[in-house]
Symmetry: C2
Subunit: 317 residues, 2 copies
Amino acid sequence: MIINDDFLATELNKVEELLLKTLKTRSKMVEASLKRFVKSGGKRLRPTFTIIGSTFGDYKSEIVIPLATAIEIMHMATLIHDDIIDDAETRRGTKSIQATLGKNTAVYCGDFLFTRAFMIIADMAEIDMLKDISKAIAFICDSEIDQNEQKYDITVTVRDYLKRIGGKTATLFALSIASGAHKAGCDKKIINKLSNIGKSIGMAFQIVDDILDFTGNEKAVGKPLLSDARQGIYTLPIIYSLNSPYRDQTIKAIEIIDKDGGKYLLDTVLESGSLERAKGLANKYIKKALKIKDTLPEGYGKGAITEIIEKQLERKF
Amino acid sequence: MIINDDFLATELNKVEELLLKTLKTRSKMVEASLKRFVKSGGKRLRPTFTIIGSTFGDYKSEIVIPLATAIEIMHMATLIHDDIIDDAETRRGTKSIQATLGKNTAVYCGDFLFTRAFMIIADMAEIDMLKDISKAIAFICDSEIDQNEQKYDITVTVRDYLKRIGGKTATLFALSIASGAHKAGCDKKIINKLSNIGKSIGMAFQIVDDILDFTGNEKAVGKPLLSDARQGIYTLPIIYSLNSPYRDQTIKAIEIIDKDGGKYLLDTVLESGSLERAKGLANKYIKKALKIKDTLPEGYGKGAITEIIEKQLERKF
Protein backbone atom coordinates (compact mmCIF):
# COMPACT_ATOMS: atom_id res chain seq x y z
CA MET A 1 0.00 0.00 0.00
CA ILE A 2 1.59 3.25 -1.16
CA ILE A 3 0.66 6.16 1.05
CA ASN A 4 0.92 9.37 -0.94
CA ASP A 5 -1.07 12.56 -1.35
CA ASP A 6 -3.91 10.80 -3.11
CA PHE A 7 -4.06 7.95 -0.63
CA LEU A 8 -6.86 9.21 1.60
CA ALA A 9 -8.97 10.46 -1.32
CA THR A 10 -8.60 7.12 -3.09
CA GLU A 11 -9.57 5.13 -0.02
CA LEU A 12 -12.51 7.41 0.79
CA ASN A 13 -13.72 6.96 -2.77
CA LYS A 14 -13.82 3.24 -2.20
CA VAL A 15 -15.93 3.84 0.91
CA GLU A 16 -18.26 5.99 -1.18
CA GLU A 17 -18.66 3.23 -3.75
CA LEU A 18 -19.37 0.60 -1.13
CA LEU A 19 -21.84 2.93 0.61
CA LEU A 20 -23.85 3.31 -2.58
CA LYS A 21 -23.67 -0.40 -3.34
CA THR A 22 -24.98 -1.25 0.11
CA LEU A 23 -28.13 0.83 -0.21
CA LYS A 24 -29.88 -1.41 -2.71
CA THR A 25 -33.39 -2.10 -1.50
CA ARG A 26 -36.79 -3.19 -2.83
CA SER A 27 -38.31 0.28 -2.86
CA LYS A 28 -36.87 2.44 -5.61
CA MET A 29 -38.08 5.55 -3.79
CA VAL A 30 -36.28 4.62 -0.59
CA GLU A 31 -33.14 3.67 -2.48
CA ALA A 32 -33.14 6.98 -4.34
CA SER A 33 -33.60 8.94 -1.12
CA LEU A 34 -30.86 7.05 0.67
CA LYS A 35 -28.53 7.58 -2.27
CA ARG A 36 -29.31 11.28 -2.30
CA PHE A 37 -28.57 11.33 1.42
CA VAL A 38 -25.20 9.63 0.87
CA LYS A 39 -24.35 11.93 -2.01
CA SER A 40 -25.25 15.04 -0.02
CA GLY A 41 -21.90 14.55 1.58
CA GLY A 42 -21.10 14.71 5.20
CA LYS A 43 -17.55 14.95 6.31
CA ARG A 44 -16.88 11.20 6.43
CA LEU A 45 -14.85 11.81 9.54
CA ARG A 46 -15.44 8.34 10.92
CA PRO A 47 -14.27 6.47 7.82
CA THR A 48 -11.33 8.88 7.60
CA PHE A 49 -10.41 7.95 11.15
CA THR A 50 -10.67 4.23 10.44
CA ILE A 51 -8.41 4.61 7.41
CA ILE A 52 -5.89 6.75 9.28
CA GLY A 53 -5.92 4.40 12.25
CA SER A 54 -5.08 1.53 9.95
CA THR A 55 -2.05 3.31 8.48
CA PHE A 56 -0.32 2.85 11.83
CA GLY A 57 -0.07 -0.84 11.10
CA ASP A 58 -0.23 -3.19 8.15
CA TYR A 59 -2.78 -1.36 5.99
CA LYS A 60 -5.18 -3.74 4.23
CA SER A 61 -7.64 -1.91 2.04
CA GLU A 62 -9.92 -4.94 1.71
CA ILE A 63 -10.45 -4.97 5.47
CA VAL A 64 -10.42 -1.25 6.19
CA ILE A 65 -12.95 -0.19 3.55
CA PRO A 66 -15.84 -2.48 4.65
CA LEU A 67 -15.16 -1.65 8.27
CA ALA A 68 -15.09 2.11 7.60
CA THR A 69 -18.23 1.82 5.49
CA ALA A 70 -20.11 -0.16 8.14
CA ILE A 71 -19.27 2.46 10.76
CA GLU A 72 -20.42 5.29 8.46
CA ILE A 73 -23.67 3.44 7.74
CA MET A 74 -24.30 3.03 11.48
CA HIS A 75 -23.69 6.73 11.84
CA MET A 76 -26.09 7.52 8.99
CA ALA A 77 -28.74 5.32 10.62
CA THR A 78 -28.45 7.30 13.86
CA LEU A 79 -28.67 10.57 11.89
CA ILE A 80 -31.87 9.46 10.17
CA HIS A 81 -33.41 8.52 13.51
CA ASP A 82 -32.17 11.77 15.05
CA ASP A 83 -33.92 13.75 12.35
CA ILE A 84 -37.20 11.99 13.08
CA ILE A 85 -36.88 12.89 16.70
CA ASP A 86 -35.83 16.45 16.01
CA ASP A 87 -38.50 16.94 13.36
CA ALA A 88 -35.59 18.16 11.24
CA GLU A 89 -36.53 19.38 7.79
CA THR A 90 -32.98 19.54 6.52
CA ARG A 91 -29.79 17.58 6.98
CA ARG A 92 -26.49 18.50 5.36
CA GLY A 93 -28.30 21.25 3.49
CA THR A 94 -30.71 18.91 1.71
CA LYS A 95 -34.13 17.66 2.78
CA SER A 96 -33.92 15.04 5.53
CA ILE A 97 -35.13 11.49 4.92
CA GLN A 98 -38.10 12.01 7.19
CA ALA A 99 -39.05 15.21 5.35
CA THR A 100 -38.77 13.41 2.01
CA LEU A 101 -40.33 10.03 2.79
CA GLY A 102 -42.26 10.67 5.98
CA LYS A 103 -41.46 9.62 9.50
CA ASN A 104 -42.78 6.12 9.03
CA THR A 105 -40.46 5.19 6.23
CA ALA A 106 -37.61 7.03 7.94
CA VAL A 107 -37.85 4.78 10.99
CA TYR A 108 -37.46 1.72 8.79
CA CYS A 109 -34.74 3.34 6.68
CA GLY A 110 -32.69 3.73 9.84
CA ASP A 111 -33.37 0.13 10.89
CA PHE A 112 -32.55 -1.02 7.40
CA LEU A 113 -29.19 0.76 7.50
CA PHE A 114 -28.39 -0.70 10.92
CA THR A 115 -28.91 -4.20 9.64
CA ARG A 116 -26.98 -3.48 6.45
CA ALA A 117 -24.02 -2.38 8.56
CA PHE A 118 -24.24 -5.53 10.68
CA MET A 119 -24.39 -7.57 7.49
CA ILE A 120 -21.14 -6.03 6.23
CA ILE A 121 -19.44 -6.84 9.51
CA ALA A 122 -20.87 -10.34 9.51
CA ASP A 123 -19.52 -10.82 6.00
CA MET A 124 -16.11 -9.82 7.30
CA ALA A 125 -16.55 -12.47 10.01
CA GLU A 126 -15.30 -9.99 12.57
CA ILE A 127 -16.96 -11.01 15.81
CA ASP A 128 -14.82 -8.71 17.96
CA MET A 129 -15.68 -5.72 15.76
CA LEU A 130 -19.32 -6.62 15.97
CA LYS A 131 -19.23 -6.62 19.74
CA ASP A 132 -17.43 -3.29 19.88
CA ILE A 133 -19.72 -1.64 17.37
CA SER A 134 -22.87 -3.02 19.01
CA LYS A 135 -21.66 -1.70 22.33
CA ALA A 136 -20.94 1.70 20.80
CA ILE A 137 -24.38 1.92 19.22
CA ALA A 138 -26.09 0.84 22.45
CA PHE A 139 -24.09 3.58 24.16
CA ILE A 140 -25.18 6.13 21.55
CA CYS A 141 -28.82 5.13 22.14
CA ASP A 142 -28.35 5.43 25.90
CA SER A 143 -26.96 8.92 25.46
CA GLU A 144 -29.68 10.02 23.10
CA ILE A 145 -32.23 8.79 25.63
CA ASP A 146 -30.38 10.80 28.31
CA GLN A 147 -30.51 13.85 26.06
CA ASN A 148 -34.20 13.38 25.61
CA GLU A 149 -34.82 13.01 29.32
CA GLN A 150 -32.78 16.15 29.97
CA LYS A 151 -34.85 18.27 27.59
CA TYR A 152 -36.03 21.62 28.97
CA ASP A 153 -34.16 20.86 32.19
CA ILE A 154 -32.28 23.98 33.31
CA THR A 155 -30.55 22.04 36.10
CA VAL A 156 -28.53 19.98 33.60
CA THR A 157 -24.84 20.11 34.51
CA VAL A 158 -21.61 20.32 32.50
CA ARG A 159 -20.94 16.79 33.69
CA ASP A 160 -24.29 15.56 32.30
CA TYR A 161 -23.46 17.28 29.04
CA LEU A 162 -19.97 15.77 28.76
CA LYS A 163 -21.31 12.32 29.54
CA ARG A 164 -23.99 12.78 26.91
CA ILE A 165 -21.68 13.92 24.11
CA GLY A 166 -19.12 11.34 25.13
CA GLY A 167 -21.74 8.70 24.43
CA LYS A 168 -23.42 10.16 21.42
CA THR A 169 -20.33 11.34 19.52
CA ALA A 170 -16.94 10.61 21.02
CA THR A 171 -17.42 6.87 21.48
CA LEU A 172 -17.90 6.23 17.78
CA PHE A 173 -14.95 8.50 16.90
CA ALA A 174 -12.76 6.52 19.28
CA LEU A 175 -14.01 3.23 17.93
CA SER A 176 -13.49 4.33 14.32
CA ILE A 177 -9.81 5.06 14.68
CA ALA A 178 -9.06 2.30 17.18
CA SER A 179 -10.79 -0.39 15.12
CA GLY A 180 -8.79 0.65 12.06
CA ALA A 181 -5.57 0.28 14.02
CA HIS A 182 -6.73 -2.97 15.57
CA LYS A 183 -7.44 -4.52 12.17
CA ALA A 184 -3.99 -3.44 10.97
CA GLY A 185 -2.39 -5.40 13.78
CA CYS A 186 -1.15 -2.42 15.81
CA ASP A 187 -0.04 -3.10 19.36
CA LYS A 188 -2.31 -2.32 22.27
CA LYS A 189 -0.42 0.80 23.31
CA ILE A 190 -0.87 2.46 19.92
CA ILE A 191 -4.52 1.40 19.79
CA ASN A 192 -5.15 2.95 23.20
CA LYS A 193 -3.46 6.18 22.20
CA LEU A 194 -5.46 6.40 19.00
CA SER A 195 -8.66 5.61 20.87
CA ASN A 196 -7.96 8.47 23.27
CA ILE A 197 -7.16 10.81 20.40
CA GLY A 198 -10.42 9.82 18.72
CA LYS A 199 -12.35 10.36 21.92
CA SER A 200 -10.82 13.82 22.48
CA ILE A 201 -11.38 14.90 18.90
CA GLY A 202 -14.95 13.61 19.16
CA MET A 203 -15.58 15.67 22.29
CA ALA A 204 -14.08 18.78 20.67
CA PHE A 205 -16.01 18.14 17.48
CA GLN A 206 -19.34 17.94 19.29
CA ILE A 207 -18.65 21.03 21.38
CA VAL A 208 -17.74 22.93 18.20
CA ASP A 209 -20.91 21.63 16.58
CA ASP A 210 -22.91 22.90 19.52
CA ILE A 211 -21.15 26.29 19.34
CA LEU A 212 -21.90 26.49 15.64
CA ASP A 213 -25.58 26.04 16.47
CA PHE A 214 -25.27 29.57 17.87
CA THR A 215 -22.74 31.30 15.67
CA GLY A 216 -22.38 29.21 12.54
CA ASN A 217 -23.23 30.01 8.98
CA GLU A 218 -26.67 28.50 8.48
CA LYS A 219 -25.78 27.31 5.00
CA ALA A 220 -22.51 25.72 6.07
CA VAL A 221 -24.10 24.06 9.10
CA GLY A 222 -26.89 22.75 6.86
CA LYS A 223 -29.73 23.42 9.30
CA PRO A 224 -31.36 26.44 10.97
CA LEU A 225 -29.38 27.99 13.83
CA LEU A 226 -30.40 27.56 17.46
CA SER A 227 -32.40 24.50 16.56
CA ASP A 228 -31.16 22.60 19.61
CA ALA A 229 -32.13 25.32 22.06
CA ARG A 230 -35.55 25.70 20.45
CA GLN A 231 -36.13 21.99 21.07
CA GLY A 232 -35.10 22.25 24.70
CA ILE A 233 -31.71 20.64 24.16
CA TYR A 234 -29.37 22.73 26.29
CA THR A 235 -25.78 22.41 25.16
CA LEU A 236 -22.56 23.69 26.67
CA PRO A 237 -22.94 27.43 25.89
CA ILE A 238 -26.35 27.53 27.59
CA ILE A 239 -25.23 25.36 30.49
CA TYR A 240 -22.26 27.68 31.11
CA SER A 241 -24.57 30.67 30.86
CA LEU A 242 -27.00 29.11 33.35
CA ASN A 243 -24.08 28.63 35.73
CA SER A 244 -22.88 32.22 35.45
CA PRO A 245 -24.08 35.49 36.97
CA TYR A 246 -26.28 35.66 33.85
CA ARG A 247 -28.44 32.80 35.13
CA ASP A 248 -31.70 34.75 35.45
CA GLN A 249 -31.18 36.42 32.10
CA THR A 250 -30.51 33.04 30.49
CA ILE A 251 -33.70 31.57 31.94
CA LYS A 252 -35.65 34.53 30.65
CA ALA A 253 -34.01 34.21 27.24
CA ILE A 254 -34.99 30.55 27.12
CA GLU A 255 -38.56 31.41 28.03
CA ILE A 256 -38.99 33.84 25.16
CA ILE A 257 -37.16 31.77 22.53
CA ASP A 258 -40.33 30.97 20.60
CA LYS A 259 -41.12 34.66 20.39
CA ASP A 260 -37.75 36.14 19.42
CA GLY A 261 -36.26 33.11 17.67
CA GLY A 262 -33.41 32.99 20.17
CA LYS A 263 -32.00 36.47 19.56
CA TYR A 264 -31.92 37.31 23.26
CA LEU A 265 -30.44 33.91 24.09
CA LEU A 266 -27.64 34.41 21.58
CA ASP A 267 -26.94 37.85 23.07
CA THR A 268 -26.89 36.31 26.52
CA VAL A 269 -24.48 33.48 25.81
CA LEU A 270 -22.19 35.98 24.07
CA GLU A 271 -22.46 38.61 26.80
CA SER A 272 -21.88 36.09 29.58
CA GLY A 273 -18.76 34.83 27.84
CA SER A 274 -20.25 31.35 27.70
CA LEU A 275 -19.49 30.82 24.04
CA GLU A 276 -15.88 31.73 24.72
CA ARG A 277 -15.78 29.33 27.64
CA ALA A 278 -17.16 26.58 25.44
CA LYS A 279 -14.50 27.31 22.82
CA GLY A 280 -11.96 27.08 25.61
CA LEU A 281 -13.12 23.61 26.56
CA ALA A 282 -13.09 22.48 22.93
CA ASN A 283 -9.51 23.75 22.67
CA LYS A 284 -8.57 21.83 25.77
CA TYR A 285 -9.75 18.61 24.13
CA ILE A 286 -7.93 19.52 20.92
CA LYS A 287 -4.71 20.16 22.84
CA LYS A 288 -5.12 16.85 24.62
CA ALA A 289 -5.49 15.09 21.29
CA LEU A 290 -2.46 16.87 19.85
CA LYS A 291 -0.37 16.03 22.89
CA ILE A 292 -1.10 12.31 22.62
CA LYS A 293 -0.55 12.52 18.88
CA ASP A 294 2.99 13.85 19.48
CA THR A 295 3.89 10.57 21.15
CA LEU A 296 2.86 8.53 18.11
CA PRO A 297 5.44 7.06 15.74
CA GLU A 298 6.35 9.27 12.77
CA GLY A 299 4.57 8.64 9.50
CA TYR A 300 1.57 9.42 7.39
CA GLY A 301 -1.00 8.93 10.15
CA LYS A 302 0.59 11.39 12.53
CA GLY A 303 0.48 14.19 9.97
CA ALA A 304 -3.03 13.25 8.89
CA ILE A 305 -4.36 13.55 12.44
CA THR A 306 -2.93 17.06 12.75
CA GLU A 307 -4.44 17.99 9.41
CA ILE A 308 -7.89 16.74 10.40
CA ILE A 309 -7.82 18.69 13.60
CA GLU A 310 -6.81 21.85 11.75
CA LYS A 311 -9.33 21.37 8.99
CA GLN A 312 -12.31 20.23 11.02
CA LEU A 313 -11.97 22.07 14.25
CA GLU A 314 -9.60 24.96 14.51
CA ARG A 315 -10.69 26.77 11.39
CA LYS A 316 -14.27 26.84 12.48
CA PHE A 317 -13.94 29.22 15.37
CA MET B 1 -31.86 -32.80 28.15
CA ILE B 2 -35.07 -34.43 29.37
CA ILE B 3 -38.04 -33.45 27.29
CA ASN B 4 -41.18 -33.78 29.38
CA ASP B 5 -44.35 -31.82 29.92
CA ASP B 6 -42.55 -29.03 31.71
CA PHE B 7 -39.77 -28.79 29.16
CA LEU B 8 -41.12 -25.92 27.05
CA ALA B 9 -42.28 -23.93 30.06
CA THR B 10 -38.88 -24.34 31.71
CA GLU B 11 -37.01 -23.25 28.60
CA LEU B 12 -39.31 -20.30 27.97
CA ASN B 13 -38.76 -19.22 31.55
CA LYS B 14 -35.06 -19.07 30.85
CA VAL B 15 -35.77 -16.88 27.82
CA GLU B 16 -37.87 -14.64 30.05
CA GLU B 17 -35.03 -14.29 32.54
CA LEU B 18 -32.48 -13.50 29.86
CA LEU B 19 -34.88 -10.98 28.28
CA LEU B 20 -35.18 -9.07 31.53
CA LYS B 21 -31.43 -9.27 32.16
CA THR B 22 -30.69 -7.85 28.74
CA LEU B 23 -32.78 -4.73 29.23
CA LYS B 24 -30.45 -3.06 31.71
CA THR B 25 -29.82 0.49 30.58
CA ARG B 26 -28.72 3.85 31.99
CA SER B 27 -32.18 5.34 32.18
CA LYS B 28 -34.25 3.81 34.94
CA MET B 29 -37.40 5.08 33.26
CA VAL B 30 -36.56 3.38 29.97
CA GLU B 31 -35.57 0.19 31.73
CA ALA B 32 -38.81 0.14 33.69
CA SER B 33 -40.86 0.69 30.55
CA LEU B 34 -39.03 -2.00 28.61
CA LYS B 35 -39.46 -4.41 31.50
CA ARG B 36 -43.15 -3.65 31.66
CA PHE B 37 -43.31 -4.27 27.93
CA VAL B 38 -41.59 -7.65 28.33
CA LYS B 39 -43.80 -8.59 31.25
CA SER B 40 -46.97 -7.63 29.40
CA GLY B 41 -46.52 -10.93 27.69
CA GLY B 42 -46.80 -11.64 24.05
CA LYS B 43 -47.06 -15.16 22.85
CA ARG B 44 -43.30 -15.80 22.57
CA LEU B 45 -44.01 -17.75 19.44
CA ARG B 46 -40.58 -17.09 17.95
CA PRO B 47 -38.61 -18.35 20.97
CA THR B 48 -41.00 -21.30 21.18
CA PHE B 49 -40.19 -22.10 17.57
CA THR B 50 -36.46 -21.85 18.17
CA ILE B 51 -36.72 -24.20 21.12
CA ILE B 52 -38.90 -26.68 19.27
CA GLY B 53 -36.66 -26.55 16.22
CA SER B 54 -33.71 -27.45 18.40
CA THR B 55 -35.43 -30.52 19.83
CA PHE B 56 -35.09 -32.16 16.42
CA GLY B 57 -31.35 -32.40 17.01
CA ASP B 58 -28.93 -32.33 19.88
CA TYR B 59 -30.68 -29.84 22.18
CA LYS B 60 -28.25 -27.51 23.93
CA SER B 61 -30.02 -25.11 26.25
CA GLU B 62 -26.97 -22.83 26.56
CA ILE B 63 -27.08 -22.17 22.81
CA VAL B 64 -30.83 -22.21 22.21
CA ILE B 65 -31.80 -19.77 24.96
CA PRO B 66 -29.57 -16.84 23.88
CA LEU B 67 -30.52 -17.39 20.26
CA ALA B 68 -34.25 -17.53 21.05
CA THR B 69 -33.91 -14.44 23.25
CA ALA B 70 -32.03 -12.48 20.59
CA ILE B 71 -34.73 -13.24 18.03
CA GLU B 72 -37.48 -12.18 20.45
CA ILE B 73 -35.62 -8.94 21.22
CA MET B 74 -35.33 -8.19 17.49
CA HIS B 75 -39.05 -8.81 17.23
CA MET B 76 -39.74 -6.51 20.18
CA ALA B 77 -37.61 -3.79 18.55
CA THR B 78 -39.67 -3.98 15.38
CA LEU B 79 -42.90 -3.84 17.46
CA ILE B 80 -41.74 -0.69 19.23
CA HIS B 81 -40.90 0.95 15.92
CA ASP B 82 -44.20 -0.25 14.44
CA ASP B 83 -46.10 1.40 17.26
CA ILE B 84 -44.37 4.70 16.58
CA ILE B 85 -45.39 4.50 12.99
CA ASP B 86 -48.93 3.41 13.75
CA ASP B 87 -49.35 6.00 16.52
CA ALA B 88 -50.49 3.04 18.58
CA GLU B 89 -51.61 3.87 22.09
CA THR B 90 -51.69 0.29 23.26
CA ARG B 91 -49.73 -2.90 22.65
CA ARG B 92 -50.61 -6.23 24.20
CA GLY B 93 -53.29 -4.50 26.20
CA THR B 94 -50.90 -2.13 27.98
CA LYS B 95 -49.69 1.32 26.97
CA SER B 96 -47.17 1.21 24.13
CA ILE B 97 -43.61 2.40 24.67
CA GLN B 98 -44.23 5.44 22.49
CA ALA B 99 -47.36 6.32 24.46
CA THR B 100 -45.43 5.96 27.73
CA LEU B 101 -42.09 7.53 26.88
CA GLY B 102 -42.84 9.56 23.78
CA LYS B 103 -41.89 8.87 20.19
CA ASN B 104 -38.38 10.17 20.60
CA THR B 105 -37.36 7.76 23.28
CA ALA B 106 -39.25 4.97 21.57
CA VAL B 107 -37.09 5.31 18.45
CA TYR B 108 -33.96 4.85 20.54
CA CYS B 109 -35.52 2.07 22.60
CA GLY B 110 -36.00 0.12 19.40
CA ASP B 111 -32.44 0.84 18.26
CA PHE B 112 -31.17 -0.10 21.68
CA LEU B 113 -32.96 -3.44 21.53
CA PHE B 114 -31.60 -4.13 18.04
CA THR B 115 -28.05 -3.64 19.23
CA ARG B 116 -28.68 -5.67 22.37
CA ALA B 117 -29.83 -8.55 20.21
CA PHE B 118 -26.76 -8.25 18.01
CA MET B 119 -24.61 -8.21 21.13
CA ILE B 120 -26.09 -11.49 22.34
CA ILE B 121 -25.40 -13.07 18.99
CA ALA B 122 -21.89 -11.64 18.90
CA ASP B 123 -21.30 -13.09 22.36
CA MET B 124 -22.32 -16.46 20.98
CA ALA B 125 -19.76 -15.92 18.20
CA GLU B 126 -22.32 -17.10 15.69
CA ILE B 127 -21.40 -15.35 12.46
CA ASP B 128 -23.76 -17.43 10.33
CA MET B 129 -26.68 -16.66 12.65
CA LEU B 130 -25.79 -13.01 12.52
CA LYS B 131 -25.93 -12.99 8.74
CA ASP B 132 -29.27 -14.80 8.67
CA ILE B 133 -30.82 -12.59 11.31
CA SER B 134 -29.51 -9.38 9.72
CA LYS B 135 -30.94 -10.49 6.40
CA ALA B 136 -34.28 -11.28 8.03
CA ILE B 137 -34.46 -7.88 9.72
CA ALA B 138 -33.50 -6.07 6.50
CA PHE B 139 -36.29 -8.04 4.82
CA ILE B 140 -38.76 -7.04 7.55
CA CYS B 141 -37.79 -3.38 7.04
CA ASP B 142 -38.22 -3.74 3.28
CA SER B 143 -41.68 -5.17 3.79
CA GLU B 144 -42.70 -2.50 6.28
CA ILE B 145 -41.57 0.12 3.77
CA ASP B 146 -43.68 -1.65 1.12
CA GLN B 147 -46.65 -1.62 3.47
CA ASN B 148 -46.17 2.07 4.03
CA GLU B 149 -45.94 2.78 0.31
CA GLN B 150 -49.10 0.75 -0.28
CA LYS B 151 -51.14 2.74 2.24
CA TYR B 152 -54.55 3.95 1.02
CA ASP B 153 -53.91 2.17 -2.27
CA ILE B 154 -57.06 0.33 -3.35
CA THR B 155 -55.24 -1.31 -6.24
CA VAL B 156 -53.07 -3.41 -3.88
CA THR B 157 -53.23 -7.08 -4.90
CA VAL B 158 -53.36 -10.34 -2.98
CA ARG B 159 -49.88 -10.96 -4.31
CA ASP B 160 -48.60 -7.65 -2.87
CA TYR B 161 -50.19 -8.60 0.42
CA LEU B 162 -48.67 -12.06 0.55
CA LYS B 163 -45.23 -10.71 -0.32
CA ARG B 164 -45.60 -8.09 2.39
CA ILE B 165 -46.65 -10.48 5.16
CA GLY B 166 -44.09 -13.00 3.97
CA GLY B 167 -41.45 -10.40 4.66
CA LYS B 168 -42.79 -8.82 7.77
CA THR B 169 -43.91 -11.96 9.62
CA ALA B 170 -43.22 -15.31 7.99
CA THR B 171 -39.48 -14.79 7.43
CA LEU B 172 -38.71 -14.42 11.12
CA PHE B 173 -40.95 -17.40 11.98
CA ALA B 174 -39.05 -19.51 9.46
CA LEU B 175 -35.71 -18.28 10.74
CA SER B 176 -36.69 -18.92 14.37
CA ILE B 177 -37.42 -22.59 13.93
CA ALA B 178 -34.73 -23.25 11.31
CA SER B 179 -31.98 -21.59 13.33
CA GLY B 180 -32.91 -23.66 16.37
CA ALA B 181 -32.60 -26.83 14.29
CA HIS B 182 -29.40 -25.61 12.68
CA LYS B 183 -27.75 -24.99 16.03
CA ALA B 184 -28.77 -28.48 17.17
CA GLY B 185 -26.91 -29.99 14.24
CA CYS B 186 -29.95 -31.19 12.29
CA ASP B 187 -29.39 -32.17 8.69
CA LYS B 188 -30.29 -29.84 5.86
CA LYS B 189 -33.43 -31.71 4.88
CA ILE B 190 -34.97 -31.36 8.34
CA ILE B 191 -33.93 -27.71 8.55
CA ASN B 192 -35.60 -27.00 5.22
CA LYS B 193 -38.78 -28.72 6.27
CA LEU B 194 -38.89 -26.83 9.55
CA SER B 195 -38.19 -23.56 7.74
CA ASN B 196 -41.14 -24.20 5.42
CA ILE B 197 -43.37 -25.10 8.35
CA GLY B 198 -42.32 -21.87 10.07
CA LYS B 199 -42.98 -19.87 6.96
CA SER B 200 -46.46 -21.39 6.48
CA ILE B 201 -47.41 -20.94 10.11
CA GLY B 202 -46.15 -17.36 9.91
CA MET B 203 -48.32 -16.64 6.88
CA ALA B 204 -51.35 -18.20 8.56
CA PHE B 205 -50.60 -16.37 11.78
CA GLN B 206 -50.49 -12.98 10.06
CA ILE B 207 -53.65 -13.62 8.06
CA VAL B 208 -55.43 -14.64 11.29
CA ASP B 209 -54.07 -11.51 12.96
CA ASP B 210 -55.48 -9.43 10.13
CA ILE B 211 -58.83 -11.20 10.37
CA LEU B 212 -58.90 -10.56 14.11
CA ASP B 213 -58.49 -6.85 13.37
CA PHE B 214 -62.09 -7.15 12.09
CA THR B 215 -63.72 -9.74 14.28
CA GLY B 216 -61.52 -10.18 17.31
CA ASN B 217 -62.20 -9.45 20.91
CA GLU B 218 -60.69 -6.00 21.48
CA LYS B 219 -59.38 -6.99 24.88
CA ALA B 220 -57.81 -10.22 23.67
CA VAL B 221 -56.26 -8.54 20.62
CA GLY B 222 -54.88 -5.82 22.89
CA LYS B 223 -55.65 -2.91 20.55
CA PRO B 224 -58.73 -1.25 19.05
CA LEU B 225 -60.38 -3.14 16.21
CA LEU B 226 -60.08 -2.03 12.57
CA SER B 227 -56.98 -0.03 13.40
CA ASP B 228 -55.18 -1.18 10.25
CA ALA B 229 -58.00 -0.15 7.95
CA ARG B 230 -58.32 3.21 9.66
CA GLN B 231 -54.64 3.82 8.91
CA GLY B 232 -55.02 2.89 5.28
CA ILE B 233 -53.39 -0.51 5.65
CA TYR B 234 -55.55 -2.78 3.53
CA THR B 235 -55.20 -6.39 4.55
CA LEU B 236 -56.53 -9.58 3.00
CA PRO B 237 -60.24 -9.24 3.93
CA ILE B 238 -60.40 -5.78 2.34
CA ILE B 239 -58.34 -6.83 -0.67
CA TYR B 240 -60.68 -9.77 -1.28
CA SER B 241 -63.66 -7.49 -0.85
CA LEU B 242 -62.21 -4.99 -3.33
CA ASN B 243 -61.82 -7.83 -5.81
CA SER B 244 -65.40 -9.04 -5.44
CA PRO B 245 -68.75 -7.82 -6.78
CA TYR B 246 -68.79 -5.71 -3.60
CA ARG B 247 -65.97 -3.51 -4.91
CA ASP B 248 -67.94 -0.25 -5.05
CA GLN B 249 -69.50 -0.86 -1.67
CA THR B 250 -66.04 -1.57 -0.21
CA ILE B 251 -64.63 1.67 -1.62
CA LYS B 252 -67.56 3.57 -0.15
CA ALA B 253 -67.10 1.82 3.20
CA ILE B 254 -63.42 2.82 3.20
CA GLU B 255 -64.35 6.42 2.43
CA ILE B 256 -66.67 6.75 5.41
CA ILE B 257 -64.48 4.85 7.89
CA ASP B 258 -63.63 7.97 9.89
CA LYS B 259 -67.29 8.73 10.26
CA ASP B 260 -68.75 5.33 11.17
CA GLY B 261 -65.63 3.82 12.77
CA GLY B 262 -65.60 1.02 10.18
CA LYS B 263 -69.03 -0.41 10.88
CA TYR B 264 -70.04 -0.39 7.21
CA LEU B 265 -66.66 -1.83 6.21
CA LEU B 266 -67.06 -4.71 8.65
CA ASP B 267 -70.55 -5.38 7.29
CA THR B 268 -69.17 -5.31 3.76
CA VAL B 269 -66.28 -7.74 4.29
CA LEU B 270 -68.72 -10.08 6.07
CA GLU B 271 -71.45 -9.74 3.46
CA SER B 272 -69.03 -10.22 0.56
CA GLY B 273 -67.70 -13.40 2.14
CA SER B 274 -64.22 -11.90 2.20
CA LEU B 275 -63.54 -12.76 5.82
CA GLU B 276 -64.48 -16.35 5.06
CA ARG B 277 -62.19 -16.37 2.05
CA ALA B 278 -59.35 -15.02 4.19
CA LYS B 279 -59.97 -17.76 6.75
CA GLY B 280 -59.84 -20.22 3.89
CA LEU B 281 -56.41 -19.02 2.84
CA ALA B 282 -55.13 -19.15 6.42
CA ASN B 283 -56.39 -22.74 6.63
CA LYS B 284 -54.57 -23.58 3.42
CA TYR B 285 -51.31 -22.44 4.99
CA ILE B 286 -52.08 -24.36 8.16
CA LYS B 287 -52.80 -27.49 6.18
CA LYS B 288 -49.56 -27.05 4.29
CA ALA B 289 -47.65 -26.77 7.56
CA LEU B 290 -49.38 -29.84 8.99
CA LYS B 291 -48.65 -31.82 5.84
CA ILE B 292 -44.92 -31.10 6.01
CA LYS B 293 -45.01 -31.79 9.73
CA ASP B 294 -46.35 -35.28 9.07
CA THR B 295 -43.11 -36.11 7.24
CA LEU B 296 -40.96 -35.17 10.25
CA PRO B 297 -39.41 -37.83 12.48
CA GLU B 298 -41.52 -38.82 15.49
CA GLY B 299 -40.78 -37.15 18.80
CA TYR B 300 -41.48 -34.19 21.03
CA GLY B 301 -41.10 -31.55 18.31
CA LYS B 302 -43.64 -33.07 15.99
CA GLY B 303 -46.33 -33.06 18.65
CA ALA B 304 -45.37 -29.59 19.81
CA ILE B 305 -45.81 -28.14 16.32
CA THR B 306 -49.32 -29.59 16.09
CA GLU B 307 -50.13 -28.19 19.49
CA ILE B 308 -48.92 -24.70 18.59
CA ILE B 309 -51.00 -24.67 15.44
CA GLU B 310 -54.08 -25.75 17.38
CA LYS B 311 -53.51 -23.32 20.20
CA GLN B 312 -52.45 -20.27 18.23
CA LEU B 313 -54.39 -20.51 15.05
CA GLU B 314 -57.26 -22.90 14.83
CA ARG B 315 -58.97 -21.90 18.06
CA LYS B 316 -59.08 -18.28 17.06
CA PHE B 317 -61.58 -18.54 14.26
